[in-house]
Each structure stands twice: as structure tokens, then as C-alpha cells.
């Protein structure tokens, strides 16, 4: 018998302006670490983290995109497969906040219609340099009907909470399927994560 390593696979995507801390947010979540040196992400990268929610082992495959405009043709091709998208801005960078509407439009254009979205205002540890009030983040999130957290990858604030909440929201929308087979079926051409094909029976 092969051992099953996870029940569900969720694909998440991090987007937002260059330098807002997408990679750091992900690094904090996946490795519980923080690095101050800024290395611009080239195109697209990913990390894997398995979490347990409602008794299910959920493998999160989290795609980290480059915020720079020059990589957009590469990064937008990854929107389609995402089940959850985290839109990150920097509370110390007004421009990154203004660009949220641009990123939301990108989601509308390139992602699945039912994708779960979430807004993160990162670097909330830098209160002295804040230029975007928390209320403004909450307001824009409310307007678009999406969740909002202020996070800090550096101070480890709300990072895990944000990812787990997003995963829970996706799980809630996921049709329940009894894990009746111990083997992970890799041959059938069913849904990407193997639950779509056997739901609603």
C-alpha cells in the first residue's frame, strides 16, 4: 500500500507590486524565517506547505510571482490554475495601495471566476512609516467583498492566519468527497486534485 501524503491540493498565488514583501510573506509561512535582503523574484517561483484543516491534510502549492511589470506575461499565465489569490500591498508605500485596483482587474481578466481572493497590507510592523491607514485597506476589501489582513512577515503577524483562512475558504467551497481510496489516483484524468470528479454522487 502506498501512503497517501495529502488529501487535497490547493494552488495559491501571491500577487502585488514589486517590493511589497510577497516572497517574505511566503518565506515566513513556509520556512518560518525572515530575510531582510531584497532579491527581486525572477518571473515565478513556488513553495509547498502541507497544513491540516478539519482533519484533512491539505497540500498548499503557493506560487510566488514577480511584481515587476516586465514579467507580467509570465506571471499572468499562472493566474488560471490558482484557487486562491493573495493580493499584497505595502502599508508604507501608497503607490502599491493605489495599484490594488489594477491587480484586481488582472485577476478578473486572467483568473478563474470562482477564485478565492484576499487582500494583505504587509509590513504592518513599520507603524512609523505607515502611509496607508488600516481603514482604507478594510474599505477597499469590503467594496470587493474579500477578506483583509494587515500582516508582517518580519514580525510574524497574521501570516499563518491569512494562509489558513484562505485555505479554509477554499475548503468550504470544495465539494465534500469521502477519501474512499487509500491510493492517490494518478492515472485517471479527473480533476486536478482528485476530488472534483467524484463529488455530488
Amino acid at each position: 500500500m502506498a501512503k497517501k501524503t495529502y488529501d487535497l491540493l490547493f494552488k495559491l498565488l501571491l500577487i502585488g507590486d514589486s517590493g511589497v514583501g510577497k516572497t517574505c510573506v511566503l518565506f515566513r509561512f513556509s520556512d518560518d524565517a525572515f530575510n531582510t535582503t531584497f532579491i527581486s523574484t525572477i518571473g515565478i517561483d513556488f513553495k509547498i506547505k502541507t497544513v491540516e484543516l478539519q482533519g484533512k491534510k491539505i497540500k498548499l502549492q503557493i506560487w510566488d510571482t514577480a511584481g515587476q511589470e516586465r514579467f507580467h506575461t509570465i506571471t499572468t499565465s499562472y493566474y488560471r490554475g490558482a484557487m486562491g489569490i493573495m493580493l499584497v500591498y505595502d502599508i508604507t508605500n501608497a503607490k502599491s495601495f493605489e495599484n490594488i485596483s489594477k491587480w484586481l482587474r488582472n485577476i478578473d481578466e486572467h483568473a478563474n471566476e470562482d477564485v478565492e481572493r484576499m487582500l494583505l497590507g504587509n509590513k504592518c510592523d513599520m507603524e512609523d512609516k505607515r502611509v496607508v491607514p488600516k481603514a482604507k485597506g478594510e474599505q477597499i476589501a469590503r467594496e470587493h467583498g474579500i477578506r483583509f489582513f494587515e500582516t508582517s512577515a518580519k514580525a510574524n503577524i497574521n501570516i499563518e492566519k491569512a494562509f489558513l483562512t484562505l485555505a479554509e475558504d477554499i475548503l468550504r467551497k470544495t465539494p465534500v468527497k469521502e477519501p474512499n481510496s487509500e491510493n492517490v489516483d494518478i492515472s485517471s484524468g479527473g480533476g486536478v486534485t482528485g476530488w472534483k470528479s467524484k463529488c455530488c454522487s
Binding site: 502506498a2 501512503k3 501524503t5 518571473g43 515565478i44 509547498i48 499565465s77 490554475g81 494518478i186 486536478v192
Partner: protein, 226 residues
């Protein structure tokens, strides 16, 4: 406010019937109550450096001298009006000369900055002339010049991410073997989904790999695509 000599002359003729040239009288009057710099210095100046004010100084001095002569009883009225006429011509010429000089200086400065701009454009890349809007000029001697296409970068990134995924799967498996959870004979099958739109269209190599599933890594997982 440069009042012309003619204006001075007219003004004085109306104000008094004195035979002294009106204009010089007025200028003299102005100078007496103005600054006390010597008007005679204007005579020592280089002809090309004369200004209209210098001409007024000169006319003032000549007027004063004429006044001295006339006080001896000589009739200098004809001479006086000829001098006024010559001084007026002098005034016009100096005025015109100074204006032309100013114009030429401005034109020279304009041409100079235009030349600088053209030279700068030339040196900042000869290819500028051939590059249209939205085009980038590449310096072929720059080791960091852009060299690869977006498609090439896309493929390299896909391969990197696939290898990374495979490594993760292998590490996971190794961990399971080490902890003795897995029997040696049966490798676990783990699905790693790295499907991207581009992978479906542009990477036949991975499609073959997935179909064959003969390699060790192929037994461990497969790539799925829609």
C-alpha cells in the same frame, strides 16, 4: 525710459525762447540733479561699447560747451541745430547697433544649445536614428544586456519549478523510507501538479515523460494537464 534727443529739443523749445539748444539744457538739468559721474568719460569709451546713455552724456557735454561759446555773444544757433541732428543720428545708430548685438547674441546662444543637444544625441547611441518609439537600443558591449526572450525565460522557469517539485517529492519519499514507513518494494505515488497553460502548449518533452512514466521519477509522480 530713454527719452530721445529730439523729444528733449522739442520740450525746451516750447518752454523757453532761449537760443541754447533745448535738449542739452534739459539733459544738463537732469544730470545736475542726478548722479555726479562725469559725463565727459563717455568720450573716452570704445565706439562699439557706447550705449544710448553715453550718447546723452556726450550731448550734455557738447551742449554745455555750446552754452559757454554762446555766452561770449557768438551766434551758434545753426551749428547748434546741426549738432543736434548729428547727435540724433548718433543716438539711432548706437541704439540700433546695441539691439542687433543683443539679437545676435541670443541667436548664437540658441544655436549653441541646439548644437549641444544634437551632439549629445549622437553620442548617446548612433542607433537612435533607427529606433522608433517603444524600441530599445541595446549596447552590444554591455555584458548585462538583454539577451533572452520571454519565451526562453518562461521555459527555464518552468523547468526549474518542475525540478524543484521533483526534488521535493524525492525528499519526501526519502524521509518516508528513512523512517521505515514505506516498504522498500513499493514506492509511493505522489501527484505533483505543475500544470501551467504554457506547459501544455510549449513543452512536448514533459508530455512524453509523463506518458512513458518509465523513469524512476516518473514512477513517483506524474504531471497532469488539462
Amino acid at each position: 525710459t530713454h527719452l530721445s534727443l529730439g523729444y528733449f529739443a522739442l520740450l525746451c523749445c516750447q518752454q523757453n525762447s532761449y537760443f541754447i539748444p533745448a535738449s542739452f539744457g534739459v539733459v544738463w538739468f537732469v544730470m545736475e540733479f542726478g548722479e555726479e559721474s562725469s559725463p565727459a568719460l563717455a568720450f573716452d569709451k570704445d565706439a562699439f561699447e557706447l550705449t544710448v546713455e553715453d550718447v546723452y552724456d556726450i550731448s550734455y557735454v557738447i551742449g554745455r560747451d555750446l552754452l559757454k561759446i554762446s555766452s561770449t555773444g557768438e551766434d551758434v544757433s545753426d551749428l547748434q541745430f546741426r549738432i543736434v541732428r548729428v547727435l540724433e543720428m548718433f543716438e539711432t545708430l548706437v541704439n540700433k547697433y546695441n539691439l542687433s548685438l543683443e539679437e545676435l547674441k541670443m541667436e548664437r546662444d540658441n544655436l549653441k544649445s541646439e548644437l549641444d543637444r544634437v551632439i549629445k544625441e549622437r553620442s548617446s547611441g548612433q542607433a537612435t536614428q533607427t529606433a522608433g518609439p517603444n524600441q530599445l537600443v541595446v549596447d552590444l558591449t554591455d555584458p548585462n544586456r538583454p539577451r533572452f526572450t520571454m519565451q526562453e525565460l518562461k521555459e527555464v522557469l518552468q523547468e526549474r519549478n518542475q525540478l524543484k517539485a521533483q526534488l521535493m517529492v524525492a525528499q519526501e519519499e526519502l524521509q518516508l523510507y528513512k523512517s521505515g514507513i514505506l516498504p522498500q518494494a513499493e514506492p509511493a505515488m505522489v501527484e505533483v501538479d505543475l500544470e501551467t497553460p504554457a506547459a501544455t502548449q510549449h513543452n512536448p518533452a514533459t508530455i512524453n515523460n509523463a506518458k512513458e512514466e518509465r523513469t524512476t521519477i516518473g514512477k513517483l509522480f506524474s504531471f497532469k494537464r488539462k
